[in-house]
Symmetry: D2
Subunit: 430 residues, 4 copies
């Protein structure tokens, strides 16, 4: 807020540009071709304000050169500003003998990708959320920290082909099984980093869906997967009678709540867990392991079962959304992030809690991660850019989100138990 | 960006405040009690930067007084800035004889809550999204504009109670049916605006879930519903043997993908549709009504069916997420927003396309809607604050989001048909 | 088996009839118009045997006059014989002070529809199933018997209409809400027993689904609901612009696994439960309440959650299928019968177990209930024909099936705990 | 019915046996140890009749020696008799140049497992069902017959293990990937025919599910899979820290409606389809390809989507249930059989219809297939016993059921189109 480096567009240039649109000389979406990006956004604010009566001063008061957002948006008028805060610090994946406290993101046979003490950044407008997660993290920390692991990984894209009938469908399935190397070669020619892991065929009548799964390293990878799959589809169309109907046939599944993701995963499948001594539960959460286990069963398991849900948790989506916004992830992919299962059980009198997110699509390169505030969000966790080895930073980010989710679950379960949800909101909320 | 009214915290004051935390004199989350909100965020940036090594200049360069975000976040360090743009303008709910072009939000027997020409604001980091939606809107506009209607409305909260056994469960169900007026009275005493519409009981063993449904007018209403339901639960506990286990038993269902929302709705159930002349489809989208209908069937219906999905659409979540961020909605509720079904059919040679969002939870008062950039986002559509009659603005916002979603679906279906998804991303994307 | 009253068709008459088919004089499905039903089935066995090479002696050795099956089948050739056995007797809905032991089916404010001691009939080819259920029932009985209650009831049929667009869809929804009495009148004119309980509209684009829910008393009621709904649809089509597309629009939902049934119920929603003293669990099941609760959570709750399931139980479908076959229910409706949730918890050291079946469609009149062996199956429980009051027998049958399911769950959970599933099958199985 | 070979138990011996139970000398389930099986069933009928007041003559009039049902049931009292009929004959998998008309079950690269003309046996109490399927088959036949293919195959069993935490969970996943050969060896030692195809791990917190998939040839294979998996679990427990909680962890998924089966299949994934000339649709079904396609979309796709269904079809379960009963399959597995998707589209003016059943668990050896009436049911299709090669008969049975389902769908869609559902039931129904 102090000394912003953001450029100040010339009001007169903006007005002149807006005039050219009013005169029908330029089109609304072409302004960047005729002025610098900040002037273009200023001109658009004039035009939109005029049409709608809205003042757009706050929207226009963004803190980065508009051209930096060029790959992320079109028809830009400014920025939405979402309050960002931090929770923690929390200890993650540190064995009792460890002396590290600064934290590091790495990947190895013997540990998680993230370790040490970390603050977690959250951007949200949901009052009481950070307070709740923070309370959970402090309890997790008091218990020695959380464990977290990525147990499965792969970005998917599933085109749908049409064939004449089931005879051709069966033939295509056989062909794919016999020709996976050719598909792999074609797909990987389009990418320097990505690897095709496998291709799974599904048949419904004369539609054949091929689900391609890729290792996309530190990128969330949807674009990489899309482009590589297009190349593979060209091979399929060239060598078989199948005709491509859509490069995404909805078995990917991107940005829709789908069982295929909950079952098979997409992006990272990641689990965080913690064992909390009974005394900590009682002293810090003012409830018991038994009460939390019972609430989890009745609400998160039985209640979600009765609701026909794919999300067996309390509010994982809150943490996923807030950490996605703070780190430049795709907000629409919060949908799959909530394919999560929370468990709670009493173990020798202590409380074991876990959260398993089946399909968390995250990246530390590309997309929104390069924007200034989001890049700083990644820096808070220490996972900006490419990891070493490749993929380790995205794994670490997934683990961080899982730990944040774990804390959110723990805190809300405890709050529900203490029947303080409403009053917590009354105090802290909107 | 020009002359920001945002306060500049005193660096020395921030450093002093940070020192008190380092010294153990103050706790990290208590800073607002000892300094103005902007100085507190500055102090936190110092502490977090120190621990993580992150520079937080961009995060700190937000455009509003931090105290304005007080009800929305705790442990604030600044703001995430998400690029915002607009699409449109598009004509909504205007009959052919209408001469209005300025747009208005109103509610009546004979029309939708939103009408006229409107720009739609989207905040996103997903490159190519606005270009895609804009293309869809221009085609919708060329077809005379979109229709949109809210067909069901109600915010829900579903506590879970434990009882001794199914005999008591059945008795509780009977009691609730006989005592709905008492529950309504207790619930409505907590709110000046909200109305309890109905209570539906569900039994699983010795757990009884009561799903309370409210008219929360222009508020998204989850807090209102939570507080009112707590009051009703007190009555239930006072008058029956049931014991409240959790104020939310996951049949609400909030922020999880659940069939109960897809079937029965939550927030607004809203549909937008449009009929596009064949010539417009061919000239503007370079495909045919038949091709779009076929793609929709194979991808959005059959593909989603095979995926075990609750979302029978292409990418509704993209538009819902981007408009939620631009207008101060709860990003975690994008999850339910993607419980949407897209249909496409050929009608007398023309193309009919619809999108039905079952559970779109939106508000134009409260929550994040009061933040400066988000309030301006609402102003762009003309739906900031309370509507007349109450609820009309939130209805209008729901219709606007449905129309944006419709355009996104139309555009992507056409793009898939034209096999340009990859190349569109290559040109415009990341 | 001893002195069968089944008629013996004249072989020569059957041969003559078959000849007329061979000669093209008669069609295969018309035989009942030209001979008694048993001769017709004999002629068909000749023709089918000739075409396929199959001997059909056993199929032809059925134990009832073929004309008795006339409303149940066409192109009859005989009968499939499924082994039938009994489990129990088990005490149901008897308070400790009760002295009844003969059993009765009744309905009242203060109790379940079924009470007393009952054998339960099961027809199956699944070895070890009856032994397993029987073991469970004996434990239930040792615990004082099971409780069971129907908590919701109603047979549904949901036609789908097409309308021009969402404007008309909204108008139709309003019309239905205003005209439910007219729909009720039209529907109930077609039936002497059925009552229309409510009509719920659902909108997807230009499709409007109306879910009609009926009290069909002791009939399973699908035909009654279909015929009544057709009459109501005539009113809708006569008074509005809507056009009926299909009398069933799949929101009923009949014979498909659907969340709408799991959430809202169809037929009977019924729960059975029991509390088993720890000592009984240990002595009779050789395991502990804690072990059973843990298995239930990991398998029936967490496992089913991960599987994207609508059935949160171990093998309820086994008991439902076997009791359906033994009592003349519709075997295809086993599909919805498995929309069941099993819970198990430790209560003060004892074991509480429940099974809640959301959508159990049963009847004691009509359909297959009139066939001789099936009618005897109903007699074993004491629920043949119409109940007093009407509906009480079907309620009682639902409770009996729930209790059988409860015993099956209990037994299998215990067996899994004891790791004897495989060996149990090896001893008793196929 | 003519000259039954079924034994006639001696009434006096039965009475004497019953007396010993009444005297407490014998237990109800031990009777087969003290008399021949038929006398035992007779004694039980006496006891059950006495307790319930039911006459059990029809139940006792079964047509096979009771000892033949020994592996299929315990506590036998007789048999349920379900009317059986046939539909067809229908031509399956016959190319235009084929001259075969007798039919054969075989498996090869170039064709389906079933070919030629076949009657299909159905056992049901659902009036109008056979008439409906028969009408569909006659139309399929008029179109040159149906195509059918098994596109995926494998019986699954998925035990659940508990581990200490996610660190151990990840280690177990790695161990399984490295040790699949050892698991295969252990599993296959228990079976002469079965082959372990693959093992897929799934992690939820400290629960690890391993889904074992087997080729079980002509057996439905659940017992084979269970026993083999137990052996593999012994290896897992011996070599790792994991502890087996339940041999079935519900990710199998057996007898519950679950997305994992709909997505990944279980038993046979099989599709049948047909292309019907427009003239045949118009002349025989009195409707149009366009009408059938529209009904299928609104009802089977959009309606099922809105219902939160896993079954996107009209009434596949009816045919599956009836053919299961007629051929000795497990009636409880009808649940998964209804995980089916029906598609209908207009192709160059003609009608293409398909049905894809994702998880059809069938066998032609073992289980109920050996019972006399059921074995004859298999003979009607020509698929009794082991196929050549092994598995071909079960494949052929799956194809036959798929074709029957296709005909049922086609007929009901046409009937709905013609709005004759109610009247068809009124004429033919119950």
């Amino acid at each position: 807020m102090t000394d912003s480096a953001a450029p100040s567009p010339d009001p007169e240039a903006a007005e002149a540009l807006a005039d050219r649109v009013r005169d029908g000389d330029l089109r609304f979406h072409e302004l960047e071709d005729h002025a610098d990006a900040d002037t273009a956004t200023a001109a658009r604010r004039l035009l939109v304000g005029e049409q709608s009566g809205a003042s757009l001063d706050a929207v226009g008061d963004y803190a980065f050169p508009a051209e930096q957002a060029d790959p992320n948006i079109e028809n830009m008028i400014g920025a939405a500003q979402i309050p960002m805060g931090v929770v923690g610090p929390v200890t993650i994946n540190v064995e009792e003998t460890s002396t590290s406290n600064q934290g590091a993101a790495h990947s190895g046979d013997d540990g998680g990708a993230l370790s040490g003490e970390h603050y977690l950044p959250l951007a949200t407008t949901e009052g009481a959320l950070l307070a709740s997660v923070n309370r959970g993290l402090s309890v997790v920390d008091a218990a020695g920290g959380a464990r977290a692991r990525v147990t499965k990984s792969g970005m998917t894209r599933a085109p749908v082909f049409s064939v004449a009938d089931v005879v051709e469908a069966e033939a295509l399935v056989s062909w794919v099984r016999d020709n996976e190397p050719a598909l792999k070669e074609a797909a990987e020619e389009t990418t320097s980093h990505g690897e095709l892991l496998d291709v799974t065929p599904y048949v419904v009548g004369n539609s054949v869906f091929l689900r391609f799964r890729y290792d996309t390293k530190d990128a969330m990878g949807m674009n990489m997967a899309t482009i590589a799959t297009q190349a593979a589809c060209d091979v399929v169309e060239g060598e078989t009678t199948a005709s491509l109907v859509a490069l995404s046939g909805n078995l990917c599944t991107d940005k829709k709540p789908a069982a295929i993701n909950a079952v098979e995963g997409r992006g990272r499948s990641v689990t965080a867990d913690v064992t909390i001594p009974r005394k900590v539960v009682e002293d810090r959460l003012h409830t018991t392991p038994e009460a939390i286990a019972e609430i989890n069963t009745r609400k998160n398991l039985v209640g979600s079962a009765k609701a026909g849900s794919l999300g067996f948790n309390a509010h994982v989506a809150n943490v996923v959304a807030a950490m996605f916004l703070a780190t430049g992830q795709d907000a629409a992919q919060v949908v799959e992030g909530s394919n999560a299962i929370t468990t709670a059980e009493v173990q020798s009198g202590d409380l074991y809690v876990s959260v398993s997110l089946a399909s968390l699509e995250v990246g530390t390169v590309g997309g929104g991660t390069k924007l200034p505030t989001q890049a700083e969000g990644l820096d808070i966790i220490g996972v900006r850019g490419s990891g070493d080895p490749a993929g380790a930073n995205a794994d670490a980010l997934a683990e961080a989100i899982a730990v944040g989710s774990l804390a959110g679950e723990l805190s809300l379960l405890a709050a529900l138990g203490s029947r303080h949800l409403s009053s917590a909101h009354e105090e802290l909320g909107r």
